[in-house]
Subunit: 112 residues, 4 copies
């Protein structure tokens, strides 16, 4: 079984054991991802880039795990293959951000 | 090779081809995840739960793919094994949300 | 003195008493607003629209106050007149969302 | 009339002219604030602190105006007096962050 399938099955089991599918509609899962992303950001709030790199690894792990958890659940809900959607997005970004134009700059594709 | 390893290698290749590692510090990647999460939420803004389920699947795929992309890159940057951190978090949540108390309720563990 | 000026002066006093201007650069204040907005959203997580309306008013007050606090501080930092920037935005939105087209629909202006 | 009352009345007029109160439930307004906060953050994405200060002022104004707009609408919906809730929060923070402990540090009150 693939890693992603295995993780997803564990998440589904955890959810179903608690009868939580009823709360996990698409809109709520999207809000949940956003909240977890903010909790990740809170670790680095008021810190500069260097200090951020030295932040508590365990906290980063936990918040990032929460983001992944809700993201895998949302993907499963819609029947998305995570590998496929990420590789598809990379393909699109390859066109939006051609190497020769995007190299070494953080500009948005609309400004390249 | 595992799914996650394969996705991550493609993301790293995309990033390195553009010399973008210089922008991808921990703090910036965390902000990027948060911004992509908001773009996902924008798809459902002003819609109720039912309408949200009927939203454009292609848009959901793309925004979710962006969230995954930055999350995999952040995990890789810190040497986290995504499967491990998510399964570890499930274990912790099993203790915070015991089935008998959490079943059928959306209350936070602090209120159970 | 105007309400907004009075609020802003209190916020500046609080900040200066603690010598916190050094942390309040534009980027950090923007992240802070985003984090407080997520804390507001957390009050309503997993709740439907009706339940959300019945949420703890004191919590809503506190999170909304935090959003206002960082927003007023960011406005002050850049010398923005809050009344002016909001009224200017309403004018722009009057053009983007003409009444006859936008009435009763939640569509984005790009789809009207 | 106070500044805040004047701004709020203009926002209510804009909203009512379009019959949008039906979409502005508490949960949706909270999500809207969060989305606008992310759009503000996007201006500074991948930029360091110094570059962020040099960002396009007009863009900052517009995104900040959006955050204020939805925040004033949410306050009005719940009958909150913005000045009162912000000054109340400053009082609470005066206790959570006593000057002698909080001076010059960005630590959270739980770590002071």
């Amino acid at each position: 079984m693939s890693d992603i399938k295995e993780i997803t099955e564990e998440l589904i089991k955890f959810r179903n054991d608690r009868d939580w599918a009823q709360f996990h509609d698409t809109k709520n899962l999207a809000v949940a991802i956003s909240i977890e992303a903010s909790e990740l950001n809170e670790i680095f709030l008021w810190k500069d880039s260097k200090e951020s790199e030295l932040s508590d690894k365990e906290k980063i792990k936990e918040e990032l795990a929460d983001i992944f958890a809700y993201s895998f659940l949302l993907a499963e809900k819609h029947g998305f293959d995570v590998k496929e959607i990420v590789l598809d997005k990379i393909k699109k970004n390859n066109e939006k951000y051609p190497v020769e134009k995007a190299r070494g700059t953080s500009k948005k594709y609309t400004e390249l």
